[in-house]
Symmetry: C2
Subunit: 425 residues, 2 copies
Amino acid sequence: MNYQSLSPAELIKEKEKAEGDYRMYCESGLSLDLSRGKPAADQLALAMPMLTEHTDEFRSAGGTDCRNYGVLEGLPEMRQLFSEITGIPAANILACGNASLTLMYDAVARAMLYGVQGSPRPWGREETVKFLCPVPGYDRHFRICESLGIEMISVEMDAHGPNMDVVEELVKDPAVKGMWCVPKYSNPSGITYSSEVVTRLAKMETGATDFRIFWDNAYVIHDLYNETDPLADIFALCKMYGHEDRVFYFTSTSKITFPGAGVAMMAASEANLKQILPIIGTQTIGFDKMNQLRHVRFLKNAENTAAIMRRHADFIRPKFEAMLEILEKELGDLGIATWTKPNGGYFISLDLPDGCAGRVYELAKQAGVTLTPAGATHPYGKDPRDRNLRLAPTFAKLEEIRPATAVLCCAIRLAVAEKLLTDRQ
Amino acid sequence: MNYQSLSPAELIKEKEKAEGDYRMYCESGLSLDLSRGKPAADQLALAMPMLTEHTDEFRSAGGTDCRNYGVLEGLPEMRQLFSEITGIPAANILACGNASLTLMYDAVARAMLYGVQGSPRPWGREETVKFLCPVPGYDRHFRICESLGIEMISVEMDAHGPNMDVVEELVKDPAVKGMWCVPKYSNPSGITYSSEVVTRLAKMETGATDFRIFWDNAYVIHDLYNETDPLADIFALCKMYGHEDRVFYFTSTSKITFPGAGVAMMAASEANLKQILPIIGTQTIGFDKMNQLRHVRFLKNAENTAAIMRRHADFIRPKFEAMLEILEKELGDLGIATWTKPNGGYFISLDLPDGCAGRVYELAKQAGVTLTPAGATHPYGKDPRDRNLRLAPTFAKLEEIRPATAVLCCAIRLAVAEKLLTDRQ
C-alpha cells in the first residue's frame, strides 16, 4: 500500500485507523525522548576507570606538573593522541577544554574581532559575512552564525555530501567567508562526504582570500560496525592544493569519554596557529591539563581508543537497528517517508512529504515522544519545506526505542494522511 | 646611611661595594625565580584528596549525571559554595571552566561583539572604547584590552585603592566603558580597596550608560594571617545605589585547589545574566561539571575552604616574611626603595627611584634571579616612570627566597648608585 495511490475513501480509512492507534498511544501515558544526541549512562560507565585509576598522578610524560598553570597548546601526549586519531601532525593540534563547540564559537568570534590569517580586515568590519550551511545540518553551528550576525546560505546535501556544483558557485562571492561541515556520519544525515567532495572542497577557488571551512569531525571514530566510512584527509588535501590555511579542524572526546568532561581539539595550519595562539594566550594561561592527563592515561593510544569505541557501538548499534526496523515495518511500503541508514554517528535523518515535519513533531509530543524540534536542522530553525526530522536513538533505553519509534510512525501516518486529504480538497 | 645624602665619593664607594657583591653573586651560579604568581608544589599537594577520594561519584546533589551534557549555569552546589565565599546570591553566580581569565576575556570580547545590557550598540562599533587601569596592576588584564583594541588609561593606586578623585573625573567621558579592579590583596601591591573607595565606585555617575567594572576578586579568601583585610560588598553597594548592572564579578579556585584545573566563576545582575546567558549557551552546552563536583566534594563549604586556605598561608607566609626581612635588612635605611607589606595575595610591589626598574630587572637576571619584567604592571608593558617591580615569593622554595632577595637588593643598590651618579654629572 502506497499512500500516494490511495483513493480519497481509502485515505480517510487510513487516517481513521491512524487516529485510533494514536488515541491508544496517547492514553498509554508514554514519556520517551528521541531528541538528544547524548550517550546513555551505560556508555558513560565505560570511561569510569579514567576517574578512579591512577588518580594520584599529576605529571605529564615530560615532567610538567599538570595541576599548575601553563602549556598553552595542551599536553604533548594529548596532542599526539589526537594526531593518531585524526592523521593530522601533532604540531598542528591544540588540546583544549571540554567542548569543541566552544572552540568553534571562539574561532568564529575571533574571526569577527580580528579576522583570520590573510584577512584584509576583521570579519566584523565587513558589510556582510556569509556562511554556507549544508542542510540538514547541526543546529548549534547555525546558532553561532545567527548569534554573530552571519548570513547563512543553505546548500542541500545528498548521499555524498553537500552539492559541490552549488558550493563552487556560491564561494565565488567574496562575502562568503566560511562553511560548516560535519564530514563523517554527518549530523543528522549520517552520511560521510565522498572523496570527490572533500577534494573539491580543498581544491575550489574562492572569492574571499580568507575563506575558512569549519570542519567539525565530531564522529571521527564513531562507527557502528567494524567497517568505517572512509573520509579523505581535508588537511592534507588543502595543503596539496595550496590552500593549507583553509581549514579549521575540530573534534573531541565528548562521545568517547564524557560529553560534559572530555577534551576538545582544534587543528590548523602553522600560519593559522601563529595568528591564533597569541589571542588564545590572552584568553587563557592554559586549558585543564589534569583532564588531558587522565584522558591520555585512560585512552592510551588510537588502537585502545578504537577498542573503546567498539564497546560504545555495542550499546548504540542495537538502538539504531531497532529504530530502523520499526521505521521499515511501519512505513516501509507507504511511500510517505525516507530515512538514512548510517554506519556511525548519533543520528538518523527522516524526510517526510513537504509540510508534515512540524505536525509530526507536535503529534509525537502530545503522545509522549519528544523529538528534536522540526526546523532545527536548518538555518534560523526554519526548514523551508518543513519535511526533515532528526532522530536520536542513543540516549533512550533500548527497550524504549521500539515503542517510541512506533508512536513516531503513527504520528507520521496520521499527519501525512491529513496532509494528502487537505491537498486534494 | 641614606643614598640621597651621600657625597659623590661616598656614592662611588657604595657603587664599588655593590659591584663587588654583584660579581660574587654572578659567579655563584644561582638560578632562582621570583617572577611567577603560582602556588608551589607543597600547596598543590593540599588538594590531592580531591582527585583521589570518592572518585566514582558522578551525580550532583540534585541527581544530575555530571558526566553528560547540560546545566549551563554550573552545578547548583558549586554556585552555592561560591555564594558562601563571596556573599553574592547563588542565583547571580555562574560556575564555569578552569580559568577566570577566560571569563574576563570572554566578557570583554562579548561586549565588543554584542555590547552589554543597556548598550546603545556593540562596543566594537564605537569610535573609541577606553578602560581605566589602576596601576600598578595585572598585566593579563591589560593584555586583554590591548588585544581587543581598547585604549587604556592608567590611574595611580594608593594605600586605599585607585585614586577616586581621578576615577570620578575620568568616567564622565562616555567612551570610558570599563575599569579593571583587583580589589583585595591587589596584584601586585597587595593592598585592599577601602570601604570608601568601593562605595564611591558603586555610587559614582558615569558618562557611559553601559559602564562596567571588571571586579577580579582573585584573592577573595587568600589571607596570610588570621585577620583578613575587610572588603566592602561591591555587588550589594551597586544595587543600593541603583547601579546593579555595573559590576561583572570574577573569582576562581585557581589558588585554592589547582591553578590549571580549578573552577572559575562569574557573577552579575539578573539583567546582565539575561543578556549574557543566551550567548554563553551558543558557546557551550555546559562547563565541566565533573570538575565542579569534585571541587564541591573536597571543599565542602566556606568554613572548610577557609581552613584549607590557612594551610596555604602556612606555606606562603614564611616566604613573604623572609622576603620582607631581607628587603628591610638590605635596603631599610638606604632611602632607595619602598615596598608593600600585604596581608594576603601573591605579590609584593616594589618602587624604586625613577628610571631604575628596567636596569634592576636586567642586573638580577644576569645574576640568575628572574623577576617579572619591568613595565609588566602597567598598560602596554610600559611603566612611564620605570620604577615598579612585582615580586612573587610563592613559587620558589622557602630556602631560595633569602638568597634571591639578597641578589635583588644588591642589584637595586648597584642600579640606584649608578643612576644617582649619572644624574649628578
